[in-house]
């Protein structure tokens, strides 16, 4: 077995980085259970998947998690804010 290229989509970037994945995408603000976006958000899901797959051809280094923002996701889920 010569190995197979992988790319990770993670919503827990700090935890994932510890395992030094070869390529990883963090869709910023996506909650656990929504790695690809919200249910039925097929266009967003496609965008996330295309951008994750595109990392296969980029010069990544193990442990580096690429953060991308997808503003449309906020229409589905707004992270809770911390009160001062």
């Amino acid at each position: 077995m010569k190995g197979i290229p992988t790319v990770l989509i993670t919503v827990s970037p700090e935890v994932s980085a510890q395992m030094r994945p070869p390529r990883a995408l963090y869709p910023k603000g996506f909650k656990i259970g929504n790695s690809m976006g919200g249910p039925g958000m097929r266009e967003l899901q496609g965008q996330v998947l295309r951008e994750a797959l595109s990392l296969l051809g980029e010069n990544t280094r193990p442990g580096q998690v690429i953060t991308r923002e997808y503003p449309v996701y906020r229409e589905y889920h707004e992270p809770p804010r911390v009160r001062n």
């Binding site: 990770l8 030094r20 656990i32 259970g33």
Partner: protein
């Protein structure tokens, strides 16, 4: 609990996406309705995995996992297992094809050494033999 300190091997991708076949491996506890659910009663976790075939109807997929809220995956499995999304990318020519098999497992275990040395290798071998995948998308819950 034993913890592996090994790093993940880096395998270069030398092809083109438009000529590549992609498999999905998910830790999100995804399996076919007809397959045995993961054993969430075992506090150490379940080290088994399920093969999900190429032509699966996404409505026939189910999540058994008690360490994340899978309410959304219950409505649309693509939020953790993007099989229909992958098919869309194939239809648009972004990728060449969808692999012949995919894998679901329950990404929670207190047996990390057994996961690393056993389950992970078995999953890699499953993908390597017969899936015809050129690359793999990994997702969690």
């Amino acid at each position: 609990m034993s913890i592996s300190r090994k790093c993940v091997p880096f395998t270069p991708f030398e092809g083109e996406l438009a000529r590549s076949t992609i498999a999905i491996v998910t830790a999100g506890g995804v399996h076919l309705n007809e397959q045995e659910p993961f054993n969430i009663a075992d506090e150490l976790g379940d080290l088994t995995y399920r093969i999900i075939p190429e032509g699966v109807d996404s409505s026939q997929l189910h999540v058994t996992h008690h360490h994340y809220d899978h309410t959304d995956a219950d409505k649309d499995i693509n939020v953790v297992f993007p099989i229909d999304v992958l098919r869309d990318l194939q239809a648009h020519g972004f990728i060449k094809g969808v692999a012949k098999k995919h894998v679901g497992y329950m990404g929670y275990t207190m047996q990390l050494k057994a996961m690393y040395e056993g389950t992970a290798r078995e999953i890699a071998n499953e993908i390597d033999k017969g899936s015809q995948a050129d690359a793999v998308i990994l997702t969690g819950g």
